[in-house]
Structure formats: structure tokens, C-alpha cells
Subunit: 333 residues, 4 copies
Amino acid sequence: MIVVVKPHIPEEKRTRLIDWFKDMGLGVHVSNGEYQTVLGLIGDTSKVDMDLIESLDIVQSVKRVTERFKMCNRKFHPEDTVITVGESKIGGGHFAMIAGPCSVETEDQIVAVAKAVKAAGATMLRGGAFKPRTSPYDFQGLREKGLELLKIAGKETGLPLVTEIMSAADLPYFEDVDVLQVGARNMQNFDMLKELGRCNKPILLKRGLANTLNELLMSAEYIMASGNEKVILCERGIRTYSDYTRNTFDLSAIPMLHELSHLPVVADPSHATGIARLVSPMSCAATAAGADGLMIEVHNDPLHALCDGAQSLKPEEYAEVVKKVLAVRAAIV
Amino acid sequence: MIVVVKPHIPEEKRTRLIDWFKDMGLGVHVSNGEYQTVLGLIGDTSKVDMDLIESLDIVQSVKRVTERFKMCNRKFHPEDTVITVGESKIGGGHFAMIAGPCSVETEDQIVAVAKAVKAAGATMLRGGAFKPRTSPYDFQGLREKGLELLKIAGKETGLPLVTEIMSAADLPYFEDVDVLQVGARNMQNFDMLKELGRCNKPILLKRGLANTLNELLMSAEYIMASGNEKVILCERGIRTYSDYTRNTFDLSAIPMLHELSHLPVVADPSHATGIARLVSPMSCAATAAGADGLMIEVHNDPLHALCDGAQSLKPEEYAEVVKKVLAVRAAIV
Amino acid sequence: MIVVVKPHIPEEKRTRLIDWFKDMGLGVHVSNGEYQTVLGLIGDTSKVDMDLIESLDIVQSVKRVTERFKMCNRKFHPEDTVITVGESKIGGGHFAMIAGPCSVETEDQIVAVAKAVKAAGATMLRGGAFKPRTSPYDFQGLREKGLELLKIAGKETGLPLVTEIMSAADLPYFEDVDVLQVGARNMQNFDMLKELGRCNKPILLKRGLANTLNELLMSAEYIMASGNEKVILCERGIRTYSDYTRNTFDLSAIPMLHELSHLPVVADPSHATGIARLVSPMSCAATAAGADGLMIEVHNDPLHALCDGAQSLKPEEYAEVVKKVLAVRAAIV
Amino acid sequence: MIVVVKPHIPEEKRTRLIDWFKDMGLGVHVSNGEYQTVLGLIGDTSKVDMDLIESLDIVQSVKRVTERFKMCNRKFHPEDTVITVGESKIGGGHFAMIAGPCSVETEDQIVAVAKAVKAAGATMLRGGAFKPRTSPYDFQGLREKGLELLKIAGKETGLPLVTEIMSAADLPYFEDVDVLQVGARNMQNFDMLKELGRCNKPILLKRGLANTLNELLMSAEYIMASGNEKVILCERGIRTYSDYTRNTFDLSAIPMLHELSHLPVVADPSHATGIARLVSPMSCAATAAGADGLMIEVHNDPLHALCDGAQSLKPEEYAEVVKKVLAVRAAIV
């Protein structure tokens, strides 16, 4: 960690600051410039509170040189983590195709979609039962009942199940779910992350609406530090001024996360763009950027059928996407 | 709600869409233009899923004309809500000065700060016991013990207590707290909002890092729709590209929220800027913009004293801010 | 265009507004709801000033339904525009590989890089002579002399030349340049766009730091409306809160621009990420998203060689990228 | 400047980097840590290209410790700059009230508005003649003729004139204008900034849509380094995800710019919010934040009169704002 001390600070104050760092067990290299003094802190600075130091009046700025995430850091764990879910794997060269409807609605619906996406090449089934909605007046999902229907579809197809959990208090309902998804709005619900760190299921952790990669990795670290190392990171678009797509799909995050961490990274083009006709090109793009899997919404419900299209893909469109994605994947390896 | 249908859509499909709206009990006004057809939906559209409609292939765009928040909407409740906390009030002309340390550390510390801020003019005491931290390795607060110490300071000074809750599971510990704060990272932790809607304490709801005013009001609506109408909104800075301050203090949100809603609005210049020397001018600015109160960090702990300054203000600096704020308030009334 | 009138507006004022629209030659459909009146304006609304109308006190909001860009709009020109530059083409299935150094430095340098990128598969040579720099104290480019050196490299290799112009006053120097580049900072330098619309060279128009797709297309429209229809759009990253890459590469813009416009779209992964090791995956991703070409920085200058790497790629790295990009392109067609 | 070298870099490469810095005439302090080496560069680093160094493969990150702006830097010029315009002054305790219509339309209009704002307390007259518009089909201003009308209004009232210039080629028309305004879209039109640095008029430099304070100050530096030290900075809102106001008014920029620079800072609440009814509270807020002046749109044209309100204020509303602003200013001094 590097601490830049402001110019014209009395010797005595600077000395007290240096002594304070030394009392924390850190080595301090001092380098005096014309306009400022630079302190290089050597040792384990991961527990040093950077905000606190930056807040001191005699300090101009602070720069952390080593990352604070340890367990998910590739520096300390160079090999890719491979996570096994049922018979499929993700990471380290294994590619996951996660597909299914936004919400579980009826047994017929979820079983039909599950069969269709399996036939098209999906390796896991997604479907929302507990739904985070901006408005209390929106449909909040079928909850426990939705999970029951999802399990039926899982049994019929053999596909592992991925679904969102919104509160640690609901954990007992999720016993038969294979992968627990943490939504973007809960990425920094630290209490829930700690609880999920105590369960033994893979966690698919979505990047928050306006979170940095460092914050995403620190949230993964919360889960891992509590005992669960099976974390899958997910890029799902960030909020920016740009208004043509629902979010801005930050695909550079994929190779960057691979550089910083050994955890698998999947991408969600359906939520990132909010526009069905962009799902195909953006699935190809995410794959070309090195994603370890894709999470795509597929539907077959009557309303959408009625109106001939929707934000979700139809099963036959999904089958086309799978083909293109596999071709792109073959091209970049 | 206005639905713009794409050009060149077969008559039959358009008719099915219109019939579908009518089946929901809505009136539909059709207006045919050269390049598109515009449908005006009349009736209670608050439960219509705008995203779903926008996702339809035949739809070009959707615009909601009436807000979906009802209980916090000024249209249906023109008078300012006034919330009483102990002997102080907030909203409708009543101004709250909430002050205290970032974290509760020791009994001596919190009691000393409480006395100092009271003497300076504070009307409520804040202090963090349960602390949301980006890193699992950072200090997470004294938790239950911190609340105990906070209560002691409350008793010694008579100041009502404001402190953050991070999980509905912790509610039993907060019995003697006067105002429950929901942090920016939990603004869309909908399960917790619903639980807080079932308790009878005022909720200070902070705007999320990258949330719109509409989303903030929908989160207030979650609390109110569950039965608790005592919600205080808080602007605390949003995340933008701008890097000089920790967040960008969106002060226009204050008059805008007053226009949209009858709920009181406070501002938090300490978190919005992250820089102690900006707290004074930005407190004056938030007051001039019409805030109903300010939440300001004040400390007296030895480390900060040692280094002669901090992100938090010292009690004597806070006293200066209170004076200026009251002068600004007098100027704009 | 749809205009939503506020509730409880006196009949008389509403009538005056409607008459005012009619005086502009527009048809007006009126649809009365419980809380507002919706006016649908029919006719050529492209010259109606939306900001002005939105500013009226009796108006709640305005929504433009038809795009204001006409000449670059795919609706009125369904076929892809193909632009010919020397012997190479771009758009409509033709892919451009534009490569070269950030700045033209010496004859040896630019000729060596030009030969190397040509051998690797580049179809056009880029190189900065007039350089927009944040600081007046930074190197501002070799200017006219840089253009002379660039021409030498063009003659030696037969590659067409792409280089940035910063002021219409410099146009005489650019006679032998094949494609004029408008940088992100000048995307809304409307006076220069008009001047470039009067010359007969293809214009590579970069998206501004924080501009919407609509604004980018309106800037293309400035050039086209002045008489020059040869515009190439370029996505080069936008400014967001995200801090790992220099900008956020908004790849969804590529298929979206193809949907909105018939103009070719290239992507610039070098500037979008600012990190050499991300250029390869992001070049593949941009190609998979449907780009019509890539603009990539390649160097061979001694400093970078000395230090074994740089933001720009080395020629041998560029050759690898070309191979991968062509493989991805083959996969998605 | 601090350069952090990556871990495990061969001694030899590190040495070459250090020698390269020394060849630039810089002193280098080396501090070796477990995971990285930190180099502190001492001397005049204002001409060191930070991007170039950051791009080197052996470098992990670079941090500039001293600002690159010199002439506008408060460190080297502690006293506030006071700029005199006609009989009014701005900066160093002098407050400017700049007001007038968005566009100059007719002689009657501009003279009437000029008289009205003067009576209300304005100290300078603004009015657009050369108008930057997103669309080539929008009204582009009356240009030279608009300047002529503006001059008439200036003569009739004695108010100094502020108006936007869009191209250095137009400079001859601006001879009788007192303050030249550079719009947000041209903040980094470096060629124009250099030309304006060669004229002897105060320049009102608006912050770009998505520019940092550092970039704003570097643009001021362009003007000053070319010989013109009379620069007035203007905060006019930045582009963020937030959609209730046209831009997000970044008021913390005002005290921050005062800390970094000695130049006067004005604020433009009309453009920052785009909503007339927010101009009054946000004018008060900007004043409370320490602005040296306000730029406010005031109209009296028939359309707006017809519709009873607009984004611009009516003269009588402006008079109310002036009163409140003066009261706030008195409160904070």
C-alpha cells in the first residue's frame, strides 16, 4: 500500500503516522519528494482500512498495490477452478449452457421448456421462483411452489437446477436446487453471502448494477471466507447513461476477471441487453471474450407465442444460438 | 401507459394485442400514424408489467405515464408527511440534525460524541453497530454490543437513536432503536423491506449506489405497502465516472423527491463526498436545495485526533456547520 | 411524437397547445385519460424541438416515436452501405482490418509498422499525426510532417491511410489521406462535421465518451446532410464508473447500430480497453458481435521493445489476432 | 509520480526502466516489497506520459501525485483570480448573475429580456447566437445576425455580453462580445482552446458532459498556456444513469474546484437540470456550495408566454431567484 503525505506537514505529525503503521506490524519505506512524501507499506496490508487512512488530513491519497481478495485471487491459486454440477462441469475449459424461463409459471410450462432447452444443448436449467421485483405490486414468483415445479422439470430431464435465492431464511426450501443464484441487487447483501458461505452448493454470484470487479471479487471472498469455495461469477450488464439496451454489457470484464481470479465466469446476455434479438450476437461475443458459460432466457408460454416474440428466445431460436456459440468457441480455442 | 406498435404489423396481431389489454380491464385508445400505431391504455395500469410488453416483437416502445408508486405519491397525498421521533420531528417544516460517529467503538467514545453533538445542536444520534463492509476482512461493527453502547449514549443525552440494520433476522436486537436505517446496498433487498414494513418504527431508506428516484420510491412503497408509512428518504450520493469525490451528490434529487412524494428527505454529505472539508459547503447546499435534515459523521476518537483531521468532522467543526446550516435555512424560507 | 399533458390543465390551455401543433402542419390525435391527456402528433415531426415542448409547464413528458436521423436510417435505406477505400471495401460483408501505431514518429518506424501489419493481414494503415491530448504539455503529434511520413508508408505498402483530423482548417493537409477520422472528443464539433460533409472522403466517426447511439447517428447525419454519405461509425468504449479498463467497451452497440443504420460499424479494442492483453479477446468479441472491421494499435518502437510490451500490440501479436478474428468471423457467418 | 512494478520481473528489465526514467532527468526512489517494487519519481513529471508508462508490460500501475495543471493550480497561485468584465467582477468574493434567453430571436425579444434581467439584478447578459444542436435539422441560431442583436441589447442596458463560440474561424464576429463561452461539447476541442488562448477576452469554459475535474482544469490550462489567463470555469451537470433531470448537477465540484484552482467557478442550473421549477432551489444550492456566479436562462417570448411556463424562467421568477440567492450568499459568508 502506498500512502502519499501532503506537502508541508510538520515532521512530528508524519512521524506519528509512520509509528502508527509500524505498530500495526508493517514495514514503512519513506521516499521524500519536493512536493510530497511517499510511504510504501510493506507486509500484510489486507486488513488496513484504506478509507480511514485516506480520510486523515495529512494524507493526500492512498493506493492499494496488492488486491484484498485472497481466496479468489489467481496469484495465490493459478489453476482455473472447475466446478462440478451434476454431470456437467464449468470452468477450466468446460462450458456451461444454462437456459430456461424468466419465471416458473406452471408444471407444463417449465417441463416443456426444460425438454426443449435440453434438446437444444443446454446443460443446466434456470427458472425463477423467488423473483426480485422493483415494485411490490409486480408478480413476486411462485416461491416454494415454483421450486417444486422446477424440481419436477429437473427430474424429467436430468438437468441440474439454477435458481435465485433472495434471503438466507429461505435456504431450507432450496435443498434440491443444484446452484444458488445471488441476484445483482443482493451482491452486497453481506449477511446473506456469509450464510451462503456455510452451505455446500455452488453459488452463481451476479455482478451488481454498479459494482466494480474488485467489489464483485470481494463479495465472492465473503462466500469463500465463510467456507464455500464453489463460486461462479456472472457478468450481467452494468448501469450507465446508455439507454438503448437495458444495461451495458461489460464484456471486457470476462478476460479481466479471468486474469484476476481462478473462478469460472459466465455471462447473461438476456438481462444485459433486455432485447431478444441481441441475445444471439451478444452470446457469440461473450463466448469470444472467453466466458465459461452463458445464461439465457428461453420461454414457450402462450402470451409470447401469441405475440410472436419476446425478450426471451423461443426454443428454436435458442437452438440456433447454441450452434453459433459452439462454432465461436471452436474458433477461439 | 402508452404503447407504440411497430410499423407494418399485420392488423390481426395488433388486434390480438389490443384484445389482450382489454381482457386486463383496461380501456384502449388507438391512434394510427404513418409509421406507427400508438395505444393509450386507460385505467389502473400500475400492475401491468411494462418490461413484458416492451419485450413483445410487435411493440416498439412503452412509456408509463402515471407513476407506479401510490402510497408515497404526492398526487394522492398532497400534504408533507411529518414523522415524530422522540421529541423531535422531521418533514413538513421540521428539520433534523442527525449526527454521530461512523462506528460505535467504546462507551466513552459514543457517550462523548453524543454529548458533543447534542451541545452543538444535533436532534438525533447516529452510530454504526452492524456495519456493511466491502471486504470480509474489515471490521464488521460491534453488533449487539454496539447497540447496547448506543442505548447508553441515548439515555445519557435523550437523543433518539438512528442505526443501520442489515438483516431482518437481527430485528429483535433493535427494539430500543428509534429509527432503523436501510443502507444503500440493501435498498433493493426486498425481503428485508417487507419485514421492515411490518414493524412500527420509522425507516430511514438510503438511495442505492446506482438507483433512480423511481426505484427509491418503489422501495419506499415496499415498506409502506407492508403497513409502515413512516419512511424517511435519504440522498447519499450516486456512483458515476467522476472520481474526485467518493460519490456524486445528486442534490437535484431533493426538490425532485419533494415534488414526487410527501415523504421527508434527508441528505448525507459525509458519505456522498467522503471528504471532511466538503461536508460544510455541501451541508449548506443540501439545505438550500430543501432537505428536511442532514446526517453527518462526527468523531472524537484518538486516532483521528492524533492525525488532526478525518473524513468525519470534529465536534467543534460540526457546531460550525450547524450554525451555517441554520442560517441558510433561514435564508430560503 | 407523443405529448403527455399534465392532469387538471384548463381546457383552454390545452386547446392552444393543440392549435399550435396544427399550425406546424401536424395532425393531432387526442386521447383523454383519467390522469392525463395524451396527444399523438402525426406528420413530419423531425423538426419539432422536443426539448422546447418538454419545457412547457402544461406538458408532463414527450416521447419521440420516429427517429430524427433520416439519411443514415436503415428504415429508409434497407441495404448495407459498402464503402470503398483504395482496393479494400468495408460494410455489407466486407471486413476491414485497420492497424498501425498510435503516433507517427519517424519514417523508419511508420514504414516498418506498415509493412509488418500488411504482412499480418491489415487492409488499411492508421497512424496519428494530429493528436488530441488532454494536456497542452503532452506531445501533440508531428502534424503536417507526420502526414508526409504516413504517405511514404502508404506508397511503400499500397495500404490506404486513416488518420485523425482535429480542425477543418487543417483539411488542405489531408489531401492524400484516404479516410478522415473524427475523434471521440470532436464527435459533436458540429462545425467541423459540416465541413467534412463537404469533402469527398470517407469519414470514420468515433462515438464520443458519453454519447448515446442516437447522438452518434445524429452526428453522422450532420456529415451526410452536408453531402457526404461515406460515413463509418466506430465504437471505442464509453465512460462509466467501471475502473479496470480505460473505458467500457459497449459491444451491444454494434448489432444495435446495424439495426438502426445501414452504415458500416468498426470497433476499436485498443482505445476501448487501454490494455494490450485484452485486445485479442475483445477483438474476437467485437467480431462475434458483428463488427465490419477492427482498428488496432500496433507498434515497433524501441521503448516498447525495451520494456517487452505495451498497450499496443507487437506485429507478431497482431498477426495472431488477425488469425483468431478471421476464424471467429468464419464461425458466425 | 509513483510507478508500481509487477512481481517477479527480472532484475535486468527493472534496471532498464529505472535508467530510462533517470535519462529523463528524474530522480528515482526504489522501495522493494514482497509482491512488488515501488518507484517514486522525483522531479518535473508533468511532461511524463502516464498512459505510456502504464502500458508497459512490467508495470502494474502508475499514480500521479502532483497535478499536471500548473497555471490554474492554486498551489502555485494561492489567491483567487478576479476577472473584470465591464463594470462587474467575478471571483474573489465578487458574484456574477448572468442571465438571458437560450437563443437570441429578435431585437424586441433580446432587448426586452435584457432590460428585465437587469432590473431583476443580473450583472451580465447571455444569449445564444451560434447554437450547438444535436440534430442538423434543428435551429442553429441566428449566427452573425444574432450577435448584432445581442450588441444592441448590450448597448441599451450596459450589460456585458456572454455568448457561445463554436469555431475559432468565427472569432472576427465576436469582437464586441465581452465573454466567450466554450460549450460542453467543445471542452476538449483543443485546437479551438489554443486559438482562444491567443485572444484577450475572458473565456467561460463549460465542463464537458462526462469530463473529470482534472480534464476541465487541463482544458483551462490549454487556454492559459496559450497566453490568456482569464478563464471562468462552469459546472453545468454531468451525464449519469440518473434520468429525472437532464444531467446530474455535480455541486461538490464547486468547492473541489476552488480547492484545486484559483479560477472563478460559476454554475448553470438551467442546463444542469433542464427543468424550470428546479432552477430556484438549485441556484440556492449552488450558491451555498460556494459558486462565484450563476448562469440562468430567462425568456419572454410569446410561445412560452402562451403556454404559461417553460424550462427558462420568466423575468419575475428570475427576480425571485436573485433575492433568494443573495439571501443564501449572505448566510454563508
